[in-house]
């Protein structure tokens, strides 16, 4: 196969677009996809400081790499989740990426706040991924607001969005569907804009970009991800994609064009202010504070039982 752009031998084939690219043209293509998504969805401008949530995985590091190349003002935010060697390695890779490029990086270790994900999951008996999601949402919002960033960019890709859409549709989660957009505007003064510049790029494309750019990302999968529902949805969608290339892109794109505007018109209750931390909340306490209080209560009970 020849490169669709320059006719050199192709190093990557993209079945969903029925095209192939050599290394240089693929890098150009990927960067253009991200650039167009940012411009078309009005995610942020060159004047704005962007907080990039970086896990050490292929998507977030690829995103950060593209944003730097496009000239955006970025700072990385890495949460060390406390998931043993996996988190240690993720932090090492993220720091190495930032140091090699002279980038500004904020690192927060959840264990320092007594909130390592495995401990919270064990104490509250919640799925680790659920606890992890609550932590990430809270820290991303709080750090962005406290440090004056108007926007947080995450590395969610097309496959993430398609899997999330499938899950939301299977359960007809109307409020979740109404919020599933590449740009989420703040609905509270302690929320910031959240954007997903990779929402049109497949997981394969971001992995290829990271490989071509020589980005040393963590290849290992999170040990808590085994059996996660999102992976089941991804597998189903990839089976569909194998038979009908372009299905994932059409699923997400058509949802955003045709269904999402109607859903957005649905009234979503505006968040209140959490009595615990002052962040937005849909009850007296936000999900993060409820989780923290439950963790502390169970930790005390466990310690009391150990002393008895």
């Amino acid at each position: 196969m020849k490169c669709t752009r320059c006719k050199a031998p192709a190093e990557v084939e993209l079945r969903q677009h029925n095209c192939g690219f050599c290394r240089g043209c693929f890098i150009f293509y990927f960067q253009r996809q991200v650039e167009r998504a940012i411009a078309k969805e009005r995610m942020f401008s060159l004047d704005e400081a962007v907080l990039v949530a970086v896990s050490g995985g292929k998507d977030s590091l690829a995103l950060w790499d593209v944003l730097i190349g496009l000239g955006y003002r970025t700072t990385g935010l890495h949460l060390s989740l406390g998931i043993g060697a996996y988190s240690d390695q993720s932090t090492v890779k993220t720091k190495a990426f930032a140091e090699a490029r002279g980038l500004s990086l904020i690192t927060v270790a959840l264990a320092d706040d007594g909130l390592a994900v495995p401990e919270i999951a064990s104490l509250t008996r919640r799925p680790a991924c659920s606890a992890c999601g609550t932590m990430k949402r809270h820290y991303f919002d709080q750090l962005a607001v406290d440090r004056g960033f108007p926007v947080v960019a995450t590395g969610h890709n097309l496959d993430d969005e398609a899997a999330r859409l499938l899950g939301n549709v299977l359960h007809w989660q109307m409020e979740h569907l109404a919020r599933q957009r590449p740009v989420l505007q703040p609905t509270h003064d302690r929320f910031v804009r959240k954007v997903k510049p990779l929402f049109r790029c497949s997981e394969y494309e971001s992995a290829v970009y990271a490989f071509f750019r020589g980005i040393d990302y963590i290849v290992d999968e999170c040990p808590n991800a085994a059996g996660a529902t999102q992976l089941v949805y991804k597998d189903m969608l990839n089976r569909l994609e194998a038979n009908s290339p372009g299905s994932k892109l059409a699923f997400v794109q058509e949802f955003l064009h045709k269904a999402q505007p109607a859903l957005t018109a649905e009234t979503i209750a505006a968040p209140q202010t959490c009595q615990g931390c002052g962040m937005p909340s849909f009850g007296e306490l936000c999900g993060f504070c409820r989780l923290v209080r439950e963790t502390e209560a169970r930790r005390e009970r466990r310690q009391a039982a150990a002393r008895a």
Partner: protein, 81 residues
């Protein structure tokens, strides 16, 4: 017959293809040249869910892998929840 087969590439005598599957770190050997897509299928990967890497180059799924290649199959699927 014996003299004739000595001229043919023998799957038994040839070096096998060395394959490392990531992130599982699984090592295996495959005999004979074949398309990258076929290797992926034999290992249970759907199209577009893993990269086939030979040295520092990415091998398109439609391209051939030689019998004595050393390749890495790196899954691109990640996620939780």
């Amino acid at each position: 017959m014996g003299a004739f087969t000595a001229w043919l590439p023998s799957p038994i005598l040839a070096n096998p293809m060395h394959v490392t599957v990531l992130p599982q770190r699984k090592q295996l050997e495959i005999t004979g040249r074949r398309r990258a897509a076929d290797v992926l299928r034999e290992l249970g990967f759907l199209p577009g869910t893993a990269m086939v890497i030979r040295g520092d180059e990415l091998v398109p799924e439609g391209s051939m892998l030689e019998a004595d290649d050393v390749v890495e199959i790196r899954s691109v699927i990640s996620g939780g929840r």
